[in-house]
Subunit: 138 residues, 2 copies
Amino acid sequence: MTRPYSKALRCLQEVGLRPTRQRLALTKLLFDNNDRHITAELLHHEVNEAGAKVSLATIYNTLHQFTDAGLLKEVIVDSSRTYFDTNVSDHHHIYFKDDEELQDISSDELVIKSLPSVPEGKKISGVSVVVHMENKAD
Amino acid sequence: MTRPYSKALRCLQEVGLRPTRQRLALTKLLFDNNDRHITAELLHHEVNEAGAKVSLATIYNTLHQFTDAGLLKEVIVDSSRTYFDTNVSDHHHIYFKDDEELQDISSDELVIKSLPSVPEGKKISGVSVVVHMENKAD
DNA sequence: ATAGCTGCAAATGCTTTGCAAGGCC
DNA sequence: GGCCTTGCAAAGCATTTGCAGCTAT
């Protein structure tokens, strides 16, 4: 209770980012609970609701710094929104369009049997698999 | 030669869209060659270079009308750009980040072995697989 | 002290929309 | 003629950036 930010603090120090008030608040929200999928806008609401004032610009900056540092992963599922995933391991997603919600697919639920050959001078930087779900009664 | 638009014309009539000058020009560019992956911006350049004047707004409108009609498929690979695919069959993609180019993956090159279970009241509306490639010498 | 960080407001880039003028049936 | 289309310009939205002031070390 007297050191509510110790975990977040260590997290930031590890990647060499100054533990500012804003970054501590964001880190806490992002990594205290496992496996979050969040947008900048959503995180902005959360952090401000939690009492810490952080500007949207800083949220965007921080999310990208965290992504560059390997703490987050960007997930492309919707052309109008960018999601960030706190699970940075190799895995795939289910996107619930009607709920605008993202969920991990556990590795044993979806298996890719083979990948295409890689052209000369190129390399695979990532494989993105998104299963799009929608409500049945549409 | 005297009926250069006959194919495009049939195409539009099939989906019940009036064969206007603009739509004919776009249809021709999109469907005369197989398997195109294109953005609104790019198509805009192409059509204007080909001599037909079509506004960007109309390009966007038309691309969406075609998508609704089932002539095109939207592909989500990059958060800042929307690609449309003239191949509407079920298949997957390779995205070359450095070239901003999209390519089909032939169905025998990538196989999904299993899919996650579908929650009550939901259905799978699509499965998107994108292999992201980048230049090796980065 | 100073390099890094934050926040505002403005700018950006892609996409959509309102509406008046024009084109197809 | 009447309804569908088009095009412009303006609006919209998510995201980025410039810069002056603030903060951690």
